[in-house]
Amino acid sequence: MKPRTSGSVVRLAAPLRALAQRFSFLLLVLASIALMMVGKIDALSVDNARARVTDAFAPILDAISRPAATAAHVVESAVEVRNAFEENQRLKAENARLLQWKQAALRLEAENTSLRSLLKATPEPPSTYITARVIAAPGSSFLRTLVVTAGRRDGVRKGQAAIAGAGLVGRVVEVGEWSARVLLLTDINARVPVVLEGSRQRAVMAGDNSDQTKLLYLPPDAAIQVGERVVTSGHGGQFPPGLAVGVVSSVGERGVRVQPNVDLARVEHLQLVDFNMPGAETEPSHETK
């Protein structure tokens, strides 16, 4: 293999280049460590740089994520065709049950409205929904984030809740022009103030990079049962109270574990919700990312 460069500059540059090559490894290692420091100290500008780069690559990621999604659909539909009959029976039964629930919900809504009018309670501001497709999920043992195809021009803002189907998925941590990054509930940096629906016990739900999350700051004598529903408490003004998050899956020596309602490995589309809460624009101080 021949050296690629030749010419008059070599005479001057050769010793410098030899020196640079000898130290390039050391320099690059130091540069990496310096970048880690910068990321810790000036997280905001790193987030901005990251949003720009993600924006630039979003069209490519969008294009290459489509065949993968299609392939997954083909496999899934093949499995579903086999179980179509049982699935149909199950769905019919579930539909009948849900229709009853719908009646109950409509009745309660009417009752709620009339009671609110009696009390002169201020109604909650209406929420706006932005639906987006998941185009990237880092394959890493230590990160749980998603990149979605909606950004500032679609009305996405930092701090908005990301929900999918049965509940909360995460929170928007970084917004580009046409892409945004969602920090999932299971990421080690995620913290959500929650309340246990039955016992009204407050706690903070934290991710630890596993498939389940754990509850922090519970009193030692708290009576918590497996199967209890976990919903957002609304503290910190980030999310509205009562948003479904998960179900308590185990109570033991390793703490209280929560199984999120949504299968986070299979999220394909999600909704970014702006609850128009007062003060939601400000970044909470208890979160590091």
Partner: protein, 170 residues
């Protein structure tokens, strides 16, 4: 030897192949795969590419290139900046130190070498993430990711050999 403009362009294009393929692998590594428990152990594809090109064409895959690809990966995965850059530079450095041995050995030996490299990578990643989060994270996911990457090595290396032969022969 004088080259015409087109020949020069062609040569430059071909010389960019290792870089382009590695960036492509970085992007493929980001595709969401709707399978349970896949995300945490998804193979570290760029590590394979850096390992391969550092052995076979170190003139086209310099440590600076490895650093830039790692940085791009850091920016796209949303992780702390510098971790992948550090890991890829370390892989490059390890290969450069053992290049004579690796060049002379068979594919099987290259694979064994990669196992050792990936074990080191798992340790560095685990240390870096633990230090940056100021906590002791479980080591197992990193180990499983390394094992899956090792298992994927022959398949990815086969593609890289194809690219090598198609673009950089002669």
């Amino acid at each position: 030897m004088t080259l015409t403009l087109w020949q020069r362009l062609d040569k430059t294009g071909r010389n960019l192949a290792p870089f382009a393929v590695t960036v492509m692998l970085a992007l493929i590594g980001l595709v969401p795969v709707p399978a349970p428990a896949y995300g945490p152990v998804a193979p570290f594809l760029t590590a394979i590419a850096i390992y391969y090109w550092a052995i076979h064409r170190p003139d086209l895959m310099r440590p600076g290139t490895a650093f830039l690809i790692g940085l791009l990966q850091d920016l796209l995965t949303g992780g702390p900046l510098g971790v992948n850059a550090l890991v890829l530079v370390l892989i490059h450095w390890t290969v450069m130190n053992q290049r004579r041995v690796l060049m002379a050995s068979s594919f099987g030996m290259m694979w064994v070498g990669f196992v050792l490299v990936m074990l080191g990578v798992a340790c560095v990643q685990w240390l870096a993430f633990s230090a940056l989060n100021a906590t002791v994270l479980p080591f197992n996911p990193a180990l499983f990711q390394a094992l899956l990457t090792v298992a994927m090595f022959p398949a990815v290396a086969w593609i890289l050999i194809r690219v090598h032969r198609a673009f950089l022969q002669g």
